[in-house]
Assembly symmetry: C2
């Protein structure tokens, strides 16, 4: 089947924009995405669109896809919304890849958005809760941070991990986010700040939880047959994988692994023909600090229980062997649910095309994105490659 | 790109089941679908799943896909929810087709569900309203039937159509639904019944509006490389097309046409290499009587303004040249939003494989399904072919 390339990717700043509409944010992200295409692209050259959103706030729960694509002048194309809670964006990119590989489209827009900060705290809590399981989690009073807190407790118990281990995720990601002008919380934090912050859901404290963000992000994908019309920088979707798992934590085999992530990663590596060792960087789903630790292990960056060591030794720092979340991750860059997965691809595209500014890595070839729905009910993993570095 | 086949399709009865859960309904539809596969299929032979639902009632708004596939034992496969209001099911089938054509899957489950009758009338009205445009329709007090009533008024004015013309849709579809054991409103009605029913949103009365239904329906798709393992009856997806349009009625060029439907149909016919004249039957989206009239014209069954004549002359009756909605359609069979589009494919599969019981048509070769989101913000059209009849 034919290859698929990222020809452009862009986003709004992630942050708190309670006075902006979801359509407005989507249009800004779309504009940034169009602008990022080297040789330019007209809206009428897009064959199809996929839109990711959870629909937080219930603004336009039906036809959420066409409601934003019409606003950017993208008419008549096939357009649908995809939802997989916080993992929707990763699946939107995957659906775009399938649309192109199927031969039914040559250029596809995969975008996502969410507006959350114009809601009261209780309403936001409801909407975050819908990413958990309903009957046995949300309706029994378990908050979404409470679900990840249970995973953190289990992990700390099993692997003798500490609050310092969790806190190193915040220190690293805030350090990265401080260099990202699009980050929601673009400031540095110290280990002491992170360890001593007030509790949210024990053992997770404020610095172990990502913020509630507004924003939008989009990606333009093109087939190998047309990619050269748009750019000379060939960022290939080398492999993509996805999987699902029980939505409710209590029904899973393990609290310290997310099988959807490891299955998705295995499939992406296999399709890309690479091992985790071949990666030059990764954007992983760090909605809570524990999620980044577990991601290292699910994605094969290290053995089970070794994630704290990677952080302690700086392996995933920007100057380490495998930089993780150079964008700042969900923790610092922000987490506007439907926009998160496509936002990860924006960072991968920027890194692979030398546009990452102060965060730029040296000549990376392979980058991975990892987007999780809920506490692991679904996951999508993509591997991107700069083909010029390969040569 | 390789061909895709329907190897099985099944559904629950559509009706009022306020005491049944969405998971339970989905499982019943999945069981019926599995049972319909001639040579049988095991759950672990399914590579991927797509689930359509609007999420009415807000039961599991996040991860709605994995929430039902896990319940039928379908673990670890890529699974996502697709939403396009009432058109979600048609798009789920389309996404399944793309997944297979992309080479990334050989067998895909496309299913849909909705539970609506356990809600109070006001809550149901809210949820139906979200399929309309939010700011200019729902929040200004326009009900969803009010949107279609405006289309009906415009059509009647433009083409001198009458309440009798609208009512003939109800008479025909109830006549068909009376022969469908899965229909929600499986009783006949007379022209007098239909014309004289109480008003819902003038000029639409009770018999011009489909019911609020619960139910689930699913389709199993397979690539040409594996289809023979599952069945000898080769029901091919000959063509599929989709399009979007402005979500809000007031922003469109016409109140009497749905451009998303005509665009989607043109693409489906072109891919199938056929004209509307080649069709032997069609399941069209008759959420309101006016929608069936407009569908005839959008889908090229007749010229603009000629739909009332088709009904008057019996062209779309079961013994006419082009039977439409032999299942009973949304009007009589029912309209459980996320299940409607896949439910249409159940009827197409049954007709093309001789399983349609008292509704069976004689040896059909081509059948079409037409599924609309909202008042036309999105539409998906599929053409199915029994390849044996072709030979």
């Amino acid at each position: 089947m034919r290859d698929v390339y990222v020809i452009g990717a862009g986003q709004t700043p992630f942050g708190s924009f309670p006075d902006r509409s979801y359509r407005d944010l989507f249009a800004e992200a779309y504009g940034a995405t169009r602008d990022s295409v080297d040789s330019g692209i007209e809206t009428d050259e897009i064959d199809e669109a996929v839109v990711a959103t959870l629909g937080v706030g219930g603004r336009q729960l039906g036809l959420s896809g066409p409601a934003v694509t019409e606003h950017v002048g993208l008419h008549n194309v096939p357009c649908s919304r995809i939802e997989n809670a916080c993992g929707a964006g990763g699946f939107a990119v995957r659906q775009g890849v399938q649309a192109i590989k199927s031969g039914m489209a040559d250029v596809v827009l995969a975008g996502g958005f969410e507006v959350m900060t114009d809601l009261s705290g209780d309403v936001t809590k409801y909407w975050l809760g819908v990413s958990g399981e309903t009957e046995w989690e949300r309706l029994t009073g378990t908050t979404f941070s409470g679900v990840y807190a249970q995973m953190a407790s289990a992990y700390m118990e099993k692997h003798d991990a500490t609050k310092e281990d969790l806190s190193r995720v915040a220190v690293k990601n805030h350090g990265n986010g401080a260099k990202n002008p699009k980050a929601h919380l673009g400031f540095e934090c110290s280990l002491e700040d992170a360890v001593s912050a007030p509790a949210v859901a024990d053992p997770l404290n404020l610095y172990h939880c990502c913020p509630t963000s507004d924003g939008a992000a989009a990606v333009l994908l093109a087939s190998e047959d047309v990619v050269d019309e748009y750019t000379d920088e060939r960022v290939r979707v080398a492999g993509t994988g996805a999987a699902s798992e029980r939505v409710g934590l209590a029904q899973r085999d393990s609290y310290t692994e997310i099988s959807a992530s490891s299955e998705a990663a295995d499939r992406a590596y296999e399709r890309a023909g690479i091992d985790p060792d071949d990666l030059d960087f990764a954007e992983v789903h760090d909605c809570f600090a524990i999620a980044e630790l577990i991601a290292y292990e699910d994605l094969g960056f290290c053995d089970r229980g070794e994630a704290p060591r990677l952080l302690r030794e700086g392996v995933t720092d920007p100057d380490g062997d495998l930089p993780v979340n150079t964008s700042g991750g969900l923790k610092s860059k922000g987490h506007p649910i439907g926009a998160t997965g496509t936002g990860q691809v924006v960072e991968a595209f920027d890194q692979l095309t030398g546009r990452a500014g102060d965060r730029q890595l040296e000549n990376p070839r392979y980058g991975l994105t990892h987007n999780v729905g809920g506490s692991g009910g679904a996951a999508a993993v993509h591997v991107f490659e700069n083909e010029e570095v390969a040569q």
